[in-house]
């Protein structure tokens, strides 16, 4: 069976040395400021389908990204070639590009006083992800699928059970003397059963667990069972007439609504006038019960990092407090454009200028359970899946495909499909009438169950 790859063979000092070396070379060759990211990662994935290993994938990779400035001009290059020739080309190419880009008065690295790294162990790396034996990885995938298939006789087929693991290391260095690094790990189990009803129609759904440590994953059995519960409840789904009724979004679909708040509060969208939240700082944008926080400091969090993509320490930012927009999420560039301070949300990919991403982004939970929230609805829809990309951040217009379960007199009744749910995000956030007590971090973003009134269902 598969053995561990030796991708982390390059020692810690190697990556730091490479990063520092590229910074000093680029400075020597004429750059006025330099920022280098070096990353190294190993990945493993396996899928077991109908109790057979269907795919087994294992590999590792390294890459380097360089961003440099010639005064107020910026350019970037990246490569997976760490040879002398490759590094020369990386530095030479970026310098050449920076001669053709425009002067941008807002461009540049962070102010030295803004640089830093959170102290202490943030619990981002757990060795058990790396050392977990391949046989057991495959067994986790197998057990998740087996649990899903045996949980209900209507499960007739399967898109498999899977186990994935990744570990890696990131180094960021710049010409202002910052050098930071961290190691990270993640693993997950998922199951995707397929159910078939008496009419022959098939339905699929899935469930998953993710963690930074194998020890903290939910059991493969619980993942499989939950996947099947979510799948069989879709059997016999029907279309319903168009209507305007209260919608209760489960925590998975609510998370995608929450992500729209991030997209709209992101500094890039704000300075480009491409967001319905532009100019709304200090104003009421959601109902009074809504508080939204981005926190990059939670130990073990999926979105936790000691520093952001520009070397600014991660922090906690209150984005919405009791319905009032308190802060945008910013990197150095967008902060300068808007006359504000960075919130440490710079996201650095290998190429290009830093973007903006959230850390651990969540809505504070309410006090009532999802069951209590549903019990209050006389007629409405419990939304369990959203399909498509029908969100316009400029206008706030929202229209997406949906799957759900009809609520009648506070009870979940029959499944519903082939409908859309539509509204405008500006009104939808003001119309959040209930927030559940079920806040659970399965990803870097998390949202409890939400009830929203006033949206339109389009169906028959």
């Amino acid at each position: 069976m598969a053995t561990q790859t030796e991708v982390l063979s390059a020692s810690q000092t190697d990556l730091r040395e490479i990063a520092a070396d590229v910074v000093s070379r680029a400075m020597k060759d004429g750059a006025t400021a330099v920022e280098v990211i070096v990353r190294e990662a190993s990945e493993f994935s396996t899928m077991v389908r109908l109790n057979q290993v269907e795919t087994l994938k294992e590999s590792g990779s390294r890459a380097i990204g360089l961003r440099l400035f010639l005064g107020k001009r910026a350019a970037s290059t990246y490569s997976s070639d760490f040879t002398e020739q490759g590094i020369q080309r990386l530095v030479g190419g970026a310098l050449q590009l920076a001669r053709v880009t425009s002067e941008d008065p807002y461009a540049g690295p962070p102010d030295p006083s803004q640089l830093g790294s959170l102290p202490g162990d943030l619990k981002l790396y757990h060795d058990d992800v790396y050392t977990f034996p391949p046989e057991q990885r495959i067994d986790y995938a197998r057990r998740a699928e087996a649990a899903a298939r045996s949980a209900d006789p209507r499960i007739k087929n399967s898109d498999g059970g899977s186990f994935e693991a990744s570990t890696g290391r990131k180094v960021l260095a710049n010409s202002l003397g910052f050098i930071g690094e961290y190691q990270h790990s993640a693993c997950s189990i998922a199951a995707t059963p397929i159910a078939q009803g008496e009419d022959g129609a098939m339905q699929r759904d899935y469930w998953y667990t993710t963690a930074r440590s194998v020890a903290r994953l939910d059991s493969p059995e619980s993942v499989g069972k939950e996947a099947t519960r979510r799948t069989v409840r879709r059997l016999g789904a029907r279309k319903i007439p168009s209507s305007r009724v209260p919608l209760v979004f489960d925590s998975e679909t609510a998370r995608s609504l929450l992500e729209s708040i991030f997209d709209a509060a992101s500094g890039d969208a704000i300075y480009r006038q491409a967001s319905f939240l532009e100019g709304k700082l200090g104003q009421k944008i959601a109902s009074d019960n809504v508080t939204v926080i981005d926190d990059g400091t939670i130990p073990g969090g999926y979105g936790t990092t000691p520093f952001d993509g520009e070397g600014v320490p991660s922090r906690r930012t209150v984005v919405v407090e009791k319905g009032v927009l308190k802060s945008y999420l910013l990197n150095c560039y967008t902060a300068r454009k808007l006359g504000l301070q960075t919130t440490g949300n710079a996201a650095r990919s290998l190429a290009g200028n830093p973007g903006i991403d959230y850390h651990n982004f969540f809505m504070e939970k309410g006090s009532r359970t999802p069951q209590q929230i549903i019990a209050d609805v006389k007629q409405g829809l419990y939304v369990v899946d959203l399909l498509g990309f029908g969100v316009n951040l400029v206008t706030g217009d929202f229209s997406r495909g949906a799957t759900g379960i009809w609520i009648e007199n506070g009870e979940l009744t029959y499944p519903v499909e082939e409908i859309t749910v539509a509204g405008n995000l500006k009104e939808m956030f003001l119309n959040i009438s209930e927030i559940g007590s079920d806040l659970e971090f399965r990803n870097a973003a998390a949202c409890p169950t939400l009830r929203i009134d006033g949206m339109t269902i389009a169906g028959e």
Binding site: R49, Q52, V53, E54, T55, L56, K57, E58, S59, S61, A63, A75, S76, T77, S79, S80, D81, R89, G93, A94, Q96, L97, V100, T101, S102, A107, N157, D159, A201, M202, R204, A237, S242, R244, R272, Q273, F276, L350, G352, N353, L387, G388, F389, G390, N392, V394, T395, D397, S399, R400, G401, T403, E418, T420, V421, A422, T456, A458, G459, E460
Partner: protein, 476 residues
């Protein structure tokens, strides 16, 4: 010897003997088939924002992916270091999927005659950076000049040159040098309290000349600005089932979502598609003939060979409403006993190939677009779309209209706010009652995602009328 062979053989010192050795290592634990995918990718991107060039970047990535097939099992490993020891190591890792006596790859590679679909004299990655910069600056200037209500413009240009070498234990030997370029314009318009967005772009397997002669930055700039200005006056879209007319070109994303994914062989081999077992059955009105064609010159979805080294071709998916075939790769073709249609594609050397679409479109019919619109009493005319998505198991698909109008008594009237259209794959096309004589392919902007892998694709339709489809607006 082609230019591309030179790259891997000369730059990386790989020899045919090495390739045989790597394949033998991949089959050292048994297995039915093994292949190697070498990739060397260079990219450039430039963007203009607020009328200044804020970013320019270039990159290189290179690597080799080794795959071993054993029955319906796949072992895969890759390396970004092309040293023999690293490739052999990846081969040994991929081999772990198999159990049994070592197999020997076929000796001697056979290169099949391939298409020559990219008429590019010099790939645009080699073009002067100043020429690319000029493209985005022209896009910015002309978009702003269209109307004073255009307040923000972003123009971006991206190109890549992907050089691949694919060898298989069945004697497959294929090389390709795949250019790809794209120019995009996004703008924001404002008038009083109203804001709107316009998006346009295009390209293909073309050189920079394409943007100087055939599709200029001005053309994309005006198109983005036109959409944004129209949307300023958009009113609420209706909600519910009604007649829908799709404009020609990019609205062909309907085919991609409604039927294309459902006809990918892997889903049908596993019995997880809503189209499973429907070959020979009616899945569309008799006016519909739909093909997937990877051999159209210069199109974004076209490739001389797929990422398993098989020549691409034209595959009839639906003929006069009857389901004819699936899109397959080597694995599905072998397991299902059907032809390999040359649709095995992957995002990069880090990814396992699987059946994917190339350019998917419906052939033209006989109706004039004017007659089609005139036949609608009350409905929606959707001229442009954003993205779409499908659940291949229950067949439900969505696609989001970014430019749509109300049709009242046969006349196109008010612009509508963005709305999603939803339907059911196996029966959506049975409602096609009119097919226009104006087939158009899209401008070359499509990227398709499946299992986390993105590949460039094309779509197209003539003007189409669907007698009933659910429109996801908010108005009653």
């Amino acid at each position: 010897m082609t230019e591309n062979q030179n790259l891997f053989f000369q730059k990386f010192g790989i020899t045919p003997t090495d390739l045989q050795r790597y394949l033998a290592e991949a089959l050292s634990a048994g297995g039915d088939y093994a292949d190697l995918y070498f990739e060397y990718l260079t990219t450039t991107s430039i963007s203009v924002d607020e009328s200044i060039v804020k970013s320019a970047s270039q990159g290189i990535s290179a690597g080799c992916g080794v795959r071993v097939l054993s029955g319906d099992r796949t072992g895969y490993a890759y390396t970004d270091d092309l040293a023999p020891a690293k490739i052999l190591r990846a081969a040994r890792t991929a081999a772990l999927i198999a159990r049994g006596p070592a197999q020997q790859p076929i000796q001697g590679f056979k290169e099949k005659g391939a298409h020559q679909l990219y008429q590019v004299s010099s790939p645009s990655v080699d073009a002067d950076i100043a020429a690319k910069l000029d493209l985005v600056m022209r896009a910015d200037k002309n978009c702003r000049a269209y109307d004073p209500r255009i307040v923000q413009v972003r123009g971006s240009y991206a190109d890549e040159l992907r050089q691949i070498l694919v060898v298989g234990s069945d004697g497959t030997f294929a090389t390709d040098v795949q250019p790809l370029a794209r120019l995009s314009v996004t703008c924001i318009a404002k008038a009083g309290q109203n804001s709107s967005r316009g998006v346009s772009g295009g390209g293909g397997r073309v050189g920079i000349d394409y943007f100087l002669t055939e599709k200029t930055p001005e053309a994309f700039a005006y198109e983005a600005a036109r959409q944004a200005i129209i949307q300023l006056d958009a009113r609420e879209a209706p909600a519910g089932e009604m007649e829908v007319v799709l404009g020609p070109g990019w609205p062909g994303i309907l085919l991609h979502e409604a039927i294309g994914h459902g006809l990918e062989a892997d889903f049908n081999r596993k019995g997880t598609s809503a189209f499973t077992g429907l070959i020979g059955k009616r899945v569309a009105s008799e006016k519909c003939t739909v093909v997937d064609n990877g051999t159209l010159p210069s199109r974004r979805g076209s490739i001389n060979v797929d990422d398993e080294g098989s020549p691409t071709r034209e595959t009839v998916l639906i003929e006069k409403g009857i389901l004819k075939g699936y899109l397959s790769d080597k694995l599905s073709s072998r397991l299902m006993g059907m032809p390999d249609t040359g649709n095995g594609r992957r995002e990069s050397y880090e990814h396992i190939p699987m059946p994917r679409m190339t350019n998917t479109y419906m052939l033209a019919g006989n109706d004039s677009p004017e007659d089609i619109l005139r036949s609608v009493k009350r409905g929606v005319f959707a001229a442009n779309f954003g993205g779409g998505q499908v659940d291949i198991t229950n067949g439900k698909f969505v696609f989001s209209a970014s430019e749509a109008y109300l049709i009242e008594d046969g006349v196109v009237t008010a612009p509508l706010k963005n709305c999603t259209l939803i339907g059911n794959g196996p029966d959506a096309l049975t409602r096609v009652s009119m097919v226009g004589n104006d087939l158009q392919l899209d401008e070359g902007v499509g990227t398709c995602g499946k299992d986390g892998q993105s590949v460039p694709v094309g779509v197209g339709i003539p003007t189409l009328k669907l007698d009933s489809m659910t429109v996801g607006g908010t108005a009653h």
